[in-house]
Amino acid sequence: MKVKSPILWPLIGLIALVLVNAAFDLNFLKIVVRDGHLYGTPIDILTQGSRTMLVALGMTLVIATGGIDLSVGSVVAIAGALCAAMLQQGNGIALTIAAAIGAGMLAGTANGQLVARFGVQPIVATLILMVAGRGIAQLIVGGQVVFITNPSFEFFANGFVLGLPFAPLLVLAMYLATHFTLRKTALGLFVEAVGDNETASRFAGLAAARIKTIAYIFCGACAGLAGVLAASNIRAGDAYRTGENMELDAIFAVVVGGTALTGGRFTLLGTAIGALLIQTLTTSMYNFGVPPAVAPVAKALLIIAVSLLQSDRVGAWMGRLSRRRAA
């Protein structure tokens, strides 16, 4: 018997990708200190990947309850637009961020209610906000790209704390807080129970509907915070492009990270590695001079390969193969 950790494969993939990059260009691993701040490709990957990591964190919980949230990209756009619009009207940064996260939680509540109370399939329920969300975001900024002139707002995406980039630190704090909340209380177990067998968990006395709703609200809050980072990164609210394809990257990160789309068991560390894997892939394709147009093809083939490896049928084939070899 071998004990297989779910994060083994994504970790191997990430390391292999980094090694390939380093083999072609050793500068890939180089981190320098400039003006007391860390710079380098690894730091870039962490900073640029922070938004996907954040959205994927929320997505992990939703997928663990057996759901999916397709609306996160639109929610990121709403939060980003809200930041730009509120700062333009001279609101304080704290209030603006609270509003962005609040908007995300509101969206999550709507999704959660549709799924948990009305029993609509998650893909369908979150599709509504995926369609309408971008319209709402454009409504907030009046269909224009609103620039953010407040200089201190840029800190969130590109600032440094003690020489370390702020955005990855923020994401790290979110992951740790989520980890301790879920794993040091029974909440994580509840989430897995609901995702594994909702009926059984309800018979066991769990408030399955409430747990599901909380997962969607948390996912919305993560998307809202990611919207703050996105707006801070481009110093503008762009309802059209912000958070584009974010739902795909987030779902991909979760699946690659080893959390099954069917719900149940989840791994936050796996998700973080999965998100870093995509960002490294994107960055290294830029480094190799692959035209940006080709990038989606590679991503698509990777998603299909990973899902094939995780499917039961391939697992059964592999099992038969190894048994035959053993015999």
Binding site: L139, I251, I303
Partner: protein
Amino acid sequence: MDGAFVEEEGRMNAIRRHAARNLPLVVTGGILVVLFAIASVLYPGFLSWGVVSNLLADNAFLGIAALGMTFVIFTGGIDLSVGAVIGLTSILTATLITGLGWHPVAAWPVALGAGTTIGLAMGSIVQVFRLPPFLITLSGLFFARGLAFIVNTESVGIRHPLYRSLSDIRLSLGPLELPFAAIVLLVVAAAAYAVAHHTRFGRNLLAMGGSESSAVLMGLPVGRTKIGVYALNGFFASLAGIVATLYTGSGNSSMGVGLELDAIAVVVIGGTLLTGGRGHIAGTMLGLLTFGVIQAAILFDGRLSSWWMRIVVGLLLLVFILMQRYLLLRKPRPAAAHP
């Protein structure tokens, strides 16, 4: 088969079931008429044959994509790749004709073949490896869009005598002057209707959507049908891409971005259950017209910005999905109802 059921259940019961089954269709028809009436009152000139033929022509490629999507949704599946396949086939057609000097009649089958192959591949993966359709077709979206950008990132114009003569075609139906795109849409809709509601394949699709395990037990060719429906949808999407080149006179790799969402919305507004097993091609056409009327009304108004379209479509989706939930909950079969 229908006859035996009717005799068993009694006439009244049959009528009641028939009414319940067609309720979403009736509601959509009602909403369409009301919306059209409101728009006609608000905006002078809206109530005209020109607007009607524009409704069909402007939404022709969305309509063809939505008809294909209807088949997939019949089985309880979903295909998120159609917008990207439209982009791929439109740029492929334009590149073959303008760049390589092919005759359109030679270029079209290549484009149709490309779309159908992508659909076939996705359907096979979904069926053989039992993977969720949304994940595989999402990858298909990336793949097709990426391929389209590899072919050409710029828009490519098509100046071929055949394209010019096709765009001059007008079919007069009484006061209605239909351009070529609208004619194609109507022909495709008629073909889709025949396939969905008058062939064994169409019946199998709905049976699978109702309950896949029952369909397997009944001996229906579930695997073949499922792969076939994604291939068929790939064909419809590439046909939509070709119609898009006819409509715009060019091919563009970023054509159809987000169109899959509109297509799904059209199908759902047309009363087809997203869980599969129930729906109608005629509903999709009504859904398409409803979608078109909203779009035309927003254009006519001029004060409303185009993003209102997304919000209104989202609201309509919400209404119809909740209505579907309500209809499902009322169904006497307890197994289908969520507690």
